[in-house]
Structure formats: C-alpha cells, structure tokens
Symmetry: C2
Subunit: 142 residues, 2 copies
Amino acid sequence: MNIGDVASLSGLPAKTIRYYEEIGLVSPLRGPNGYRRFRDSDLHKLNFLGRARSLGFSIEECRNLLAMYEDQERASADVKRLAEQHLESIDRKISELQDMRSTLAHLVDACAGDHRPDCPILADLAAVDGEEDERRDRRATG
Amino acid sequence: MNIGDVASLSGLPAKTIRYYEEIGLVSPLRGPNGYRRFRDSDLHKLNFLGRARSLGFSIEECRNLLAMYEDQERASADVKRLAEQHLESIDRKISELQDMRSTLAHLVDACAGDHRPDCPILADLAAVDGEEDERRDRRATG
DNA sequence: CTTGACCTTCCAGTCGCTGGAAGCCCCATA
DNA sequence: TATGGGGCTTCCAGCGACTGGAAGGTCAAG
C-alpha cells in the first residue's frame, strides 16, 4: 500500500504519517521508486496510534503504549497505570475549563450586550489586584 | 518600574512580558540605560492580559479585548459576542474531554491491572476499523 | 505525449511561551 | 577601588504535533 491508501484507511493525513515515520513510530518499507510501502502491520499500528491520539494520549505516551502492545511480557498493571495517569490529567484539564466556563458564563450573563459601552466583562478583566474578593462577591451575588 | 517589578506585581514572568512587548501588546518606555520603564498604565494592561489569558482567551482575542477596552465608543454587544464565542469553544473542549474521559474510564475499569499481560485497554486501541459497534456494545454492557 | 494525480524531500510556520548564552548596568560591601 | 551578585539587555533555539507549500520525480489513462 502507498501512503495515500493507508491515509484513507486509517483516517490520518499523509503528512501526519510521514511525521510518524520521521519520529520513529512506524517504519514502512520503500519500493524501488522511493515510495513508502506499508504492510498490514503498519496500517495496524497507524490505526492504533490514531485511536490512542483520539483518546488524548501524547505522542510519547503512544510510543509507550505501542511498545507495551508489542511486548508480550508486560503486565496489564503497567498499561493501567499509564491510562490512569492520563485520566487524571484529563480530569485536571476538565476542571480548569469548568472554572473558566463558570466565571465567563457569569460575566456574559451580567453583560447587557446592547449598544451602550458599559460592559461588566471588560470591567472584570480590568479590575486591579486586590479586588478578587469583590469579584467573588459579585459572582456569588449575581 | 523595571520589568522585575511589573513581573512580580502582575504575576507574569519577565520573559512573557518581553514577548508581549515584541508582539505589540504593551509598549513600555525606555530609560537611558536601555531598561524598559513601565508606567502604571502598562501594569494595568498586563494585569488585564493576565486575567484574560487565565480565562482562556487567545492572544489575538486579548488584543481585541484590549482594543475594545480602550475604545470608549464600542458597544458592550461586541464584547459579549466575543465572550460568547469563547464560551462556546470552551464548551466544545469540555465535551471532547468528557468523551475521552468516559471511554478511558471504562477501559481502566475493565483492566485487571495485575501481573498478567491481557489488557482490555490495549485490546481496544488495537481493534481494527469496523469494530466500533462492538466497542460501543462493550462500553454499554460494561 | 500529455495531463493530472500521486509521491518524494525540505523548509517554514503555527501558538505562547521558555531556556540559555553572552554581555551590560547598578549597587553594596570590603 | 575592586569585586561580587543581582537584574537587565538581545538573540537564538526549542517545545508538541502537526500543517502548508515549493520544487520536483513517478505512474497510469487517454
């Protein structure tokens, strides 16, 4: 298979696949014309990578997962540990975003959104240090 | 004020402040020794930027917010629109992360995490295309 | 024989910083 | 007055994970 074939089969852009080769995640053969020649096992790896990436694992984590996948000896506990760490980092990100979300939602609510210039959103952003308490009070009250 | 002063007052690293100058977000004066000389208004801007960044606005959005803040003419509706768009993008990110989270949590649950090599996490990652239905079934059943 | 799709490499850019090197400047202390 | 230590300056490089584009080779169809 050429790169275009594995690209459409795996759903990954050809550029990404070349990049994955460059950083050593896949190692397709080469044909006499210099074209990459992908085996079924390469496609399999790319699918694995695509799915792991879609779950938010970093490239290095993917490399790790792939190595574990190919190591018949490793304990499932090793995989689980990695997955749990990733789960925690997802949870941290979610809660950061939820904090932003709630602050921002309050501000949006408080803003009239009309032709007048007065805007609580900008007022909040411009609040000087030491006004956090007032900020919190406004949120609680609002 | 020198850069170190505004750095500690604003909570932004000096490197970041230099970067903000480079991209035109702040324009401190210069002393005869070449040092940046920050006015109160510069510190004010940096606080504004720090707070907007902490709410997840991109640099370009911050530039926009700052311009709106300094434009006495603009309608609060303009600000509100930008904030609402940002809110939507936060919501999209949260829901992507929640999707990842739930898939991953199921997989982690299903994994014994002991010394044996069999691992549902890797099995899922390695599942070939066309097995999404089974994947969903397993999740629903699990 | 030409067209157009596909493939190759290489370089640059994205975003928002961050680290580090090399070299001034300023102030306090011996 | 020398010295030491901190703070300041500029410039360049790198992070992660691609993505875009240029310049050119290859292949199959008409």
